[in-house]
Symmetry: C2
Subunit: 207 residues, 2 copies
Amino acid sequence: MSLNIAVMISGSGSNLQSIIDAIEKNSLKSEIKIVISNTKNAYGLVRAEKHGIKSRYLSKNNYNSPREYEEELLEILNNKKIDLIVLAGYLGIVPGEIIKHYKNKIINIHPSLIPSFCGKGFYGLTVHEKVLEYGVKVTGATTHFVDEGVDTGPIIMQEPFKIEDEITAEELQKEVLKIEHKILVETLGLIENKKLEINGRRVLIRR
Amino acid sequence: MSLNIAVMISGSGSNLQSIIDAIEKNSLKSEIKIVISNTKNAYGLVRAEKHGIKSRYLSKNNYNSPREYEEELLEILNNKKIDLIVLAGYLGIVPGEIIKHYKNKIINIHPSLIPSFCGKGFYGLTVHEKVLEYGVKVTGATTHFVDEGVDTGPIIMQEPFKIEDEITAEELQKEVLKIEHKILVETLGLIENKKLEINGRRVLIRR
C-alpha cells in the first residue's frame, strides 16, 4: 500500500534523507507529500527542495494561539490526504488534537533503547552524552507510535548497539544514526505492508 | 589472581551454579569460600553442599537489630578473607557498612538492560513480565558494581536479547538467564585479571 507521508523535522533531516533514498530506489512504495519544519533554517528543508518535495516552515510561535497553529497544521495534513506522520528528529510537541485525529498514524524515531534515556530533555547529542555518563554498555534506537506522552507510545522496532570504551558522544551519535535510518525505513515498510498489529502497549509484527 | 569469593543468594542459585561450573573446569581461578542465603530453603544451599562449598543461612530477621546482623555478616566475610562478594539472585539489602567496607568489591547481576526495568520491585520473573507489558523489543542482562542504591552502581557488562513477538515471561526469563550466566562468569574473569578500571560511573575494560 502506498502511503501519503508527512515528515516533520527540526534539523538536518538525515532520517528524512533515508526515507527519500528508500523511496527513490523503490524500497518503499510511499510518497512524501510534505516536509514540515518548526525551525526556519533546517537543512532538511533544503533536502526536500533538492528532491522536489513540497516543504513548509511552520512554528507555533508565529500564531496567536495554540488553537490557530493546530488548525493550520491539521488543514495542511488534510489537504495532502496524509496517511502517516513521521517525526524525524522533530523537537516540537505535536498538538493533542492531531495526535487524537491521527491515532496510531504518527511514528517517531528515538536514539536510545526506550524506556532508557527518553522523555523530556533527551534529544539530539544530549541523549548520547547521558548514555556515556551513565556508563551503559548497550544503547540503540527505537521506532514507536506517538501518544500523548513524550516517547511513551507503543514500541515498533528496536535495535541495540554495543558501546566500546573509547567512543565519544559524537561518534556514538553517528553509529546510532545508522541504526535509526535502517529501522525507520524498515518500520515504514512494515506499515505499508500492514504487518503491524497493536495490542495494548505491544506491537506484534506479522511475518 | 585467585579471589576468595562469597556468593549471596535467595533462590535456586543458577547463577551460583554457573560460577561453580566455571571454576571446576578452570575457566576461573577463584574459589567460592562461602555461599550465604537469606532464605532457609534456597536450592542454592543444596548446590553448594553438592560441590563441597561451605554455606550459611543468614537472615536479618533472626537478629535483634540491623547492627547485630551486619556485624555477624562482616565477621563471616572477614574470617573467610573475602575479596569479592557476588550477589547472584540475592533479594535482600546489603547493609551500608558492608557496602562501604567492600567498595567496588561487590557485584550484582540483573536481568535487564539497566537503567530500564531495575530498582525497587524489579526482580525475578516480575522484571520479564514488565518488559513484555511495556512492549520493548530489546532486553538483556547487566553486571554492575553495587553502591548504596538499588541497581544504581557502575555497569560492568551488558548484553542484549531481541524479543520475538510470541515469547512468554517464563521463556524470556530462561533466555536472559543464559546471558546472565555468560556475562557473570566473564565479569569475574575480568576482575580476576584486573582488567576493569572504574572512572566515575564508567567502567573501562582493558583488552
